[in-house]
């Protein structure tokens, strides 16, 4: 699994990184496991969405360069 990740495009490393950050951040904010998981899921999606937006902006700005 780790080998696969290391050989994949570097962008895929974002997924475990975002998941770990979401989980730890929300674990430090809440105590109830269900709340932690729920919030972490939302934050995970939000991180990916924001980064996808930034990627889209960068692609648009570099179009036909």
């Amino acid at each position: 699994m780790l080998t696969l990740l290391a050989q994949a495009n570097i962008t895929w490393h974002l997924l475990p990184l975002a998941a770990a950050i979401s989980l730890v951040y929300n674990a430090s904010r809440y105590e109830a496991p269900s709340r932690i998981l729920q919030r972490a899921g939302k934050h995970f999606v939000m991180i990916l969405f924001i980064l996808a937006m930034i990627l889209g902006v960068l692609i648009a700005l570099s179009y036909q360069l």
Binding site: L2, L5, A6, I10, H13, P16, L17, A19, A20, I21, L23, V24, Y25, A27, S28, R29, Y30, E31, A32, P33, S34, R35, I36, Q38, K42
Partner: protein, 294 residues
């Protein structure tokens, strides 16, 4: 002040444990779910960053005369207190012992061995990989200086037995270096008619280095440049993973010391905004024990 709804036990002890080993402080407090989250997430990030770099990304290169910019990444990484303290100790050992090649021993060494043997046999040269055991002994050299001699007993790749004597002047790589293998340089001697003749040498030979003598040992400037060259962008990736692991542990330490920042999840599940749970009404909700309590 609101009474905590989880038993933090001794917050100071818990935070020190959480700082040294992510997850341990929460385990001490009986908050098993959080202990699992913190330990799995933080150790995974740190371990993956280390594995990407072959264990060479984590080190303390500070000290007198060193630029402070070299410390910035370490400051983030050492949010993991246990490995951070080990790195500081290793940095001090490295500055004290340096990178001197070992040319004398206080006591014999017997260790597993890997390397090639180059022998000049008449017109044909032998150059074969051998694995086995190496025995090194301290000895007084012919000019009265301490030196190292030794013997290799092993097998070649074709199954043939190898048994060779190592000449005076055998050298071992530095005791401390950020590599799990320690280089061995030696000439091979054979006896012919009562005379000792140097008939070959070891090539790319090494013995294992103990974990304590390589983990978190600082890289030299040359080794650091080589690591950049070998890893390319993965050098930065490994650095980011280990730094984020350290920074995330700061959150875990504070959680162990002061409990969850926003509350205990007793407010309405439909609340989506983080700020809502910071309201006094949420924090002062009817106490309900979540996690371990006594």
């Amino acid at each position: 002040m609101q009474e905590p709804q989880v038993n933090l036990k001794d917050p100071l002890i818990a935070s020190v444990l959480a700082f040294l080993v992510p997850g341990l402080g929460h385990l001490y407090q009986g908050r098993l779910f959080k202990a699992v989250i913190y330990s799995v997430c933080i150790w995974s990030l740190f371990g993956y960053g280390m594995s990407l770099s072959g264990g060479k990304i984590f080190q303390y290169r500070g000290g007198p005369g060193k630029p402070r910019t070299e410390l910035l990444s370490f400051v983030a990484q050492c949010g993991l207190g246990g490995p951070g303290l080990v790195a500081i100790i290793q940095g001090r050992r490295y500055r004290r012992l340096g990178e001197q090649v070992t040319t004398s021993l206080n006591e014999p060494i017997s260790s597993s061995f890997e390397g090639s043997i180059e022998l000049q046999q008449g017109e044909e040269d032998l150059d074969e990989v051998v694995t086995g055991t190496i025995e090194l002994f301290p000895q007084v050299g012919q000019f009265g200086d301490p030196t190292i001699v030794g013997r290799i007993i092993g097998t070649f790749e074709n199954g043939q037995t190898a048994d060779y004597t190592l000449a005076e002047g055998t050298r071992l790589g530095p005791l401390l270096r950020n590599s799990p293998r320690r280089a061995v340089e030696a000439d091979i001697v054979t006896k012919e008619g009562g005379n000792t003749i140097r008939s070959g040498r070891l090539k790319d030979a090494s013995i294992p280095r103990s974990f304590w003598n390589w983990f978190a040992v600082p890289l030299s400037n040359f080794e650091e440049q080589e690591l950049h060259r070998e890893l390319g962008k993965y050098h930065e990736l490994a650095l980011v993973f280990t730094m984020i692991a350290g920074l995330l542990n700061v959150l875990a330490v504070w959680d162990a010391f002061d409990g969850p920042a926003y509350g205990y999840g007793l407010d309405s599940e439909s609340d989506d905004d983080d700020t809502d749970s910071q309201q006094p009404s949420a924090r002062s909700a009817e106490p309900e024990t979540v996690g371990a309590s006594t």
